[in-house]
């Protein structure tokens, strides 16, 4: 299928679903047909719970950010919509517009208001999400938990202290209109219409809009999940440091996910306000925890799981209430204890929830694949030139003989009293392969961390292609063409091999969240390209047959190779390899070194290599820098280094000097 066809297909499926909803919702809303208003009320409660669960899943499940204020956003949304549809100073002007001016019926006008309320609620929540997210999401995860918890409490406190919002007496929109009518509204032109509508309508929002909101929420989160953005979010959840290293601006993505999640919680609140009584105390910490429970029980990252858990946990108390067998005073108390236990037990024994991050569609796909014959592994030749042609040529044309790709000048890094790196200087030129050696604790990895922005240097200068890079975040440095691997392998362990490489192409993707949600043809085209490129990179390291395997299931050597492939997929000019051959046997080491040399040749890379094995490094590097206690004690060709007495002393200790 071409990308355009798939885009159309997506659109058509969506249209069909909306059509279906439109078809069945009148039947759902008729209390004499399918559901009594009691059941209907529960049905709406379930829909709200699903929206909340799925939207929190975007934040907690996919991105791994712990928000404890989801109910707070819901409260903001609920009160916004309640004010817009329940306060006469807001609904009267709208009524005169929709009803008198445009000629819509009163119920239709109120539906329009409810939609306006939803939009306003989403906007306000998105804004507040930004406000809360900006200061906290750049910090460690724990702070977000506390700050969002605080946000929820502040929202409840402010509403509780506001006469306009009914304090803890609460609001219910039917009552608001009724009171207005009783206090003189009956004499206004719209009075009788409003009260007739108010008294004869069971729920001020029809099932159509409710189900549409559920559909839109699921659609947004699902489409984000299976896109460049979704992979980036999962990568952040897996390993924020490695995500930055492959060029993902983690803070920006976390904020984006948080803001979208907050807006959807606002939508849930707006819908909720149209049929339920609001009370600020109902939106406190406990409700937020409840939503967290939906996600962790159902599956962190699983839309299906969290939605099912939400419905399940919403129905349990209803059933208790409807059956008179059990004393509600007792079941209610034990129910909360049981929920708390459920949180603890699911964390202890089922950390990713019942569904993990899998969906019901994944199950279908898996079955489909099982039933069909296994698809042939696309066999690509180990040295495909095509996919690299474009990016590499681009790079080359830009960097026509630059003085140095990466240079450090007088770089120092101090941890408390310890100077881990002391006046480190280095210039890396295109095509060069430089070794960085030194005894354990000499500061080699710290040099890498400073060069790639993980640590901010205490003093000194880092330039990438002659532009200062000292204050850049790791993802910007990655964007400037410096890629790295880690000493202790930091793959996205729970994601597939293919995902690992696709994530690394992140900064070369142009289709953002809107395109992902809308599934434009360009989005599908980019996905295809990204997948093809990723497979090519994998083929380069003979890993393509493992594309669908989980990264953590790979052998140690394959993991090392995959990490290099991932670094390469960012299309760097400079590659920093931190002990890539650690744990390999001599044969493997030799072939890896050959590989590195050929890569450097092919892509015109500058490589900085940390390695312990002197034989390896002497054989492969043109130039070697030796560190000891953070100081550069020697630089030069392998031959010079081998003869340098300071190096010998550092490696063999004082005994060598004496002997």
């Amino acid at each position: 299928m071409t990308p355009a066809t798939r885009s159309w297909l997506h659109f058509a499926t969506l249209a069909a679903l909306i059509g279906l909803i439109a078809l069945i919702s009148p039947a759902l809303d008729n209390p004499r047909l399918l559901m009594s208003s009691l059941t209907h009320n529960t049905f709406y409660d379930c829909c709200i719970a699903v929206i909340l669960a799925v939207s929190l899943n975007l934040i907690l499940g996919l991105t791994g950010q712990f928000s404890l204020g989801h109910a707070g956003f819901m409260a903001v949304g609920a009160y916004t919509a309640a004010v817009i549809t329940g306060k006469p100073e807001f609904f009267l002007p709208q009524l005169s517009f929709w009803h008198a001016h445009l000629g819509l019926s009163v119920p239709a006008s109120f539906t329009c208001m409810a939609i306006a309320g939803m939009l306003a609620a989403m906007l306000l929540c998105a804004f507040l999400g930004l406000l809360v997210g900006l200061p906290t999401l750049r910090l460690r995860g724990d702070y977000l938990a506390i700050a969002t918890l605080g946000f929820g409490e502040i929202v409840a406190t402010i509403i509780g202290n506001s006469e306009y919002l009914g304090r803890t007496f609460g609001l219910r929109i039917d009552n608001m209109r009724q009171l207005w009518w009783a206090e003189g509204g009956k004499n206004t032109p719209f009075g009788p219409d409003v009260i007739a509508y108010n008294n004869n309508t069971l729920n001020f929002i029809s099932s159509f809009w409710m189900l549409l909101a559920v559909l839109v929420t699921i659609l947004i989160v699902r489409n984000i999940k299976y896109s460049t953005t979704g992979r980036a979010l999962l990568a952040i959840r897996e390993d924020p440091v490695a995500s930055e290293a492959v060029g993902i601006p983690t803070t920006r993505y976390k904020i984006a996910a948080f803001v979208i999640g907050a807006a959807l919680a606002g939508l849930a609140g707006a819908l909720y306000s149209q049929y339920q009584a609001l009370n600020p105390n109902g939106f406190r910490f406990m409700y937020s925890t409840m939503i967290v429970l939906y996600v962790i029980l159902g599956g962190q990252g699983s839309i299906t799981g969290s939605a099912l858990a939400a419905i399940f946990l919403t129905l349990v108390p209803v059933i208790f209430q409807r059956n008179t067998l059990l004393d509600p005073a007792i079941t209610e108390k034990w129910r909360m204890v049981a929920y708390a236990l459920l949180i603890i037990l699911s964390m202890l024994f089922m950390r990713h929830g019942i569904f993990g991050r899998y969906e019901i569609t994944d199950l279908a796909q898996w079955l489909y694949r099982r039933l069909r014959k296994p698809p042939p592994i696309p066999h690509t030749s180990p040295a495909p030139a095509a996919p690299y042609a474009l990016p590499i040529e681009n790079r080359k044309s830009k960097i026509e003989n630059p003085p140095s790709l990466l240079s450090a000048h007088d770089l120092s890094m101090q941890f408390g009293g310890l100077k881990a790196v002391d006046s480190f200087s280095l210039a890396l030129n295109a095509g060069e392969l430089v070794g960085l050696i030194g005894p354990n604790g000499a500061g080699k990895t710290t040099v890498f961390n400073v060069l790639t922005g993980v640590y901010r240097a205490t003093s000194g200068q880092v330039d990438i292609a002659d532009r200062s890079a000292r204050h850049l975040r790791p993802h910007s440095i990655s964007k400037r063409g410096v890629a790295r691997t880690f000493q202790n392998i930091r793959l996205f362990a729970n994601l597939s091999v293919l995902d690992n490489v696709q994530i690394a192409q992140h900064m070369h993707h142009k289709q953002g969240i809107p395109a992902a949600i809308l599934r434009t043809p360009a989005f599908f085209r980019e996905e295809d390209n990204s997948r093809k490129n990723a497979l090519d990179y994998l083929a380069l390291f003979h890993l393509d047959h493992l594309a669908d395997a989980c990264a953590s299931s790979l052998s140690y050597g394959d993991q090392r190779r995959l990490e290099i492939a991932r670094a390469l997929a960012t299309r760097p000019r400079v590659l920093l390899l931190d002990e890539p051959a650690a744990g390999m046997n001599p044969t493997e080491k030799r072939s890896l070194m050959d590989m590195i040399r050929s890569l450097r040749q092919r892509f015109g890379l500058a490589v900085l290599l940390i390695e312990h094995d002197m034989k390896v490094i002497m054989g492969v590097c043109e130039r070697i820098v030796v560190l000891d206690y953070g100081k550069t004690i020697a630089t030069g060709t392998p031959e010079e280094i081998r003869r340098n007495p300071a190096v010998i002393a550092a490696y063999l200790g004082a005994a060598a000097k004496e002997g």
Partner: protein, 409 residues
């Protein structure tokens, strides 16, 4: 490793199956419960069998479970008595309890359950004004009378012509408190200390603030606190600085018992005057010495020598293991009896007819005094002012009584 993996997947599979399976089960029995009754939901429920079904909407679990539980005890006592007398219209009363977990968001579920699943002909409840308001629209739409035993907020009965109450309002109570301070205690310089998160407290404060100047008093300072707070010394220090003769504290007992000891500690030894929110079996034991010399308005006094009161207290103690009935219990008892009388009077279990009969209630001899439902569906009835004197509740005076009723036993 594979064994562990298998076990883990097995665990997940079992959990998923359990969840989905019970979901199906729940959905099917949940769906079944509510059907059928919808067609006759409006109006004449409850008459079908040989019982008369009446709903009791209460918070028997959650934050204010003590209110709901007490209220329900009073209601059940009334129903039991009535059934012993042969019920109403020759049928036994079937009181059906619906718990809302003290949460506004659960009220609708509970009300709809009573109306559509249990087919009640009228509902008694809720105690808290906010939840009575949350229950109002669905009762109004289904033409099921809702009689609140204890919601004192002024505008509750404006929510529809099926919404009644059988207790006094904050407007009445606030006036009594202001009058009492000025005329009985002869104190005119006052401070108001309000629970800003509690609409009851805010509403009552507003009334006191309006009424007190009318009887010659002046409000020197207004301070706020939040429900659930523990330390009030900062605000009390501000109050102490204004040097008032009396402090109005229209809050709930939960904070009152914490505020007063702290006030005494700071040397604020003036009397505090509050409303019926002070009524609780725990006020005196917890408040200790600090609550002595304080006053509050209430619905009745258990030590009232009035034979009606004493008879009720005795019956209640017999049924509930010697427990002294609090205000919620007696209000529940009165409300239930008013409703029974109305159904009897209407000679029907039809919602609109019960509504009309309720509206005509006049001089009903309740335990808390003679109760008349006025044109706004509010109760006209007396209250009492109590003093905490040396660890004992003492009735100081009756308030809001019309002279004619005062003489009646």
């Amino acid at each position: 490793m594979t064994k562990r993996m298998t076990r883990r997947y097995l665990l997940r599979a079992i959990a998923a199956t359990l969840m989905i399976g019970s979901l199906g089960m729940l959905a099917s029995c949940g769906g079944g419960g509510g059907e059928g009754g919808t067609t006759q939901a409006s109006g004449g429920g409850g008459a079908g069998g040989d019982t008369i079904k009446i709903g009791s909407l209460q918070s028997t679990s959650g934050d204010t479970s003590t209110f709901g539980t007490s209220s329900n005890k009073g209601i059940n006592l009334a129903a039991e008595e009535q059934n012993a007398k042969g019920g109403i219209l020759g049928k036994k009363i079937d009181m059906i309890l619906a718990d809302d977990q003290s949460q506004a968001s659960q009220v609708r579920q509970a009300v709809l359950k009573l109306i559509e699943q249990d087919h009640v002909c009228a509902i008694l409840g809720e105690v808290a004004s906010g939840r009575t308001a949350a229950a109002a629209p669905d009762c109004q739409r289904n033409k099921i009378p809702l009689l609140s035993p204890a919601s004192t907020r002024n505008d509750i009965t404006d929510l529809g012509d099926y919404i009644f109450r059988s207790c006094y309002t904050d407007a009445q109570q606030g006036k009594w408190i202001a009058d009492f301070a000025a005329h009985n205690l002869h104190l005119t310089k006052a401070a108001i200390f309000t629970d800003s998160q509690n609409p009851y407290s805010v509403g009552l404060s507003q009334v006191i603030e309006q009424e007190f100047p009318k009887v010659g008093g002046s409000i020197l300072v207004k301070e706020n606190y939040a429900s659930g707070a523990q330390d009030f010394q900062s605000q009390l220090t501000n109050i102490r600085a204004a040097n008032p003769q009396v402090v109005f504290l229209p809050g709930y007992y939960t904070e009152v018992v914490k505020i007063l000891p702290q006030a005494r500690k700071l040397g604020l030894n003036v009397p505090f005057v509050g409303g019926d929110g002070w009524d609780s079996p725990t006020t005196i034991p917890q408040g200790g010495d600090a609550v002595n010399g304080c006053y509050f308005s209430d619905h009745y006094a258990p030590d009232d020598p009035n034979p009606r009161v004493q008879a009720f207290v005795k019956k209640f103690q017999q049924k509930y293991d010697g427990e002294t009935p609090d205000a919620m219990a007696v209000l529940g008892y009165d409300a239930a009896n008013i409703l029974f009388a109305a159904i009897e009077h209407a000679n029907s279990t039809d919602g609109p007819k019960i509504r009309d009969a309720l509206a005509q209630t006049s001089n009903f001899p309740g335990v808390t005094g003679n109760i008349t439902i006025d044109a706004n569906r509010n109760a006209q009835k007396p209250g009492v002012m109590l003093e905490i004197d040396n660890g004992k509740l003492k009735m100081v005076t009756r308030v809001g009584e019309n002279p004619a009723a005062a003489t009646a036993p």
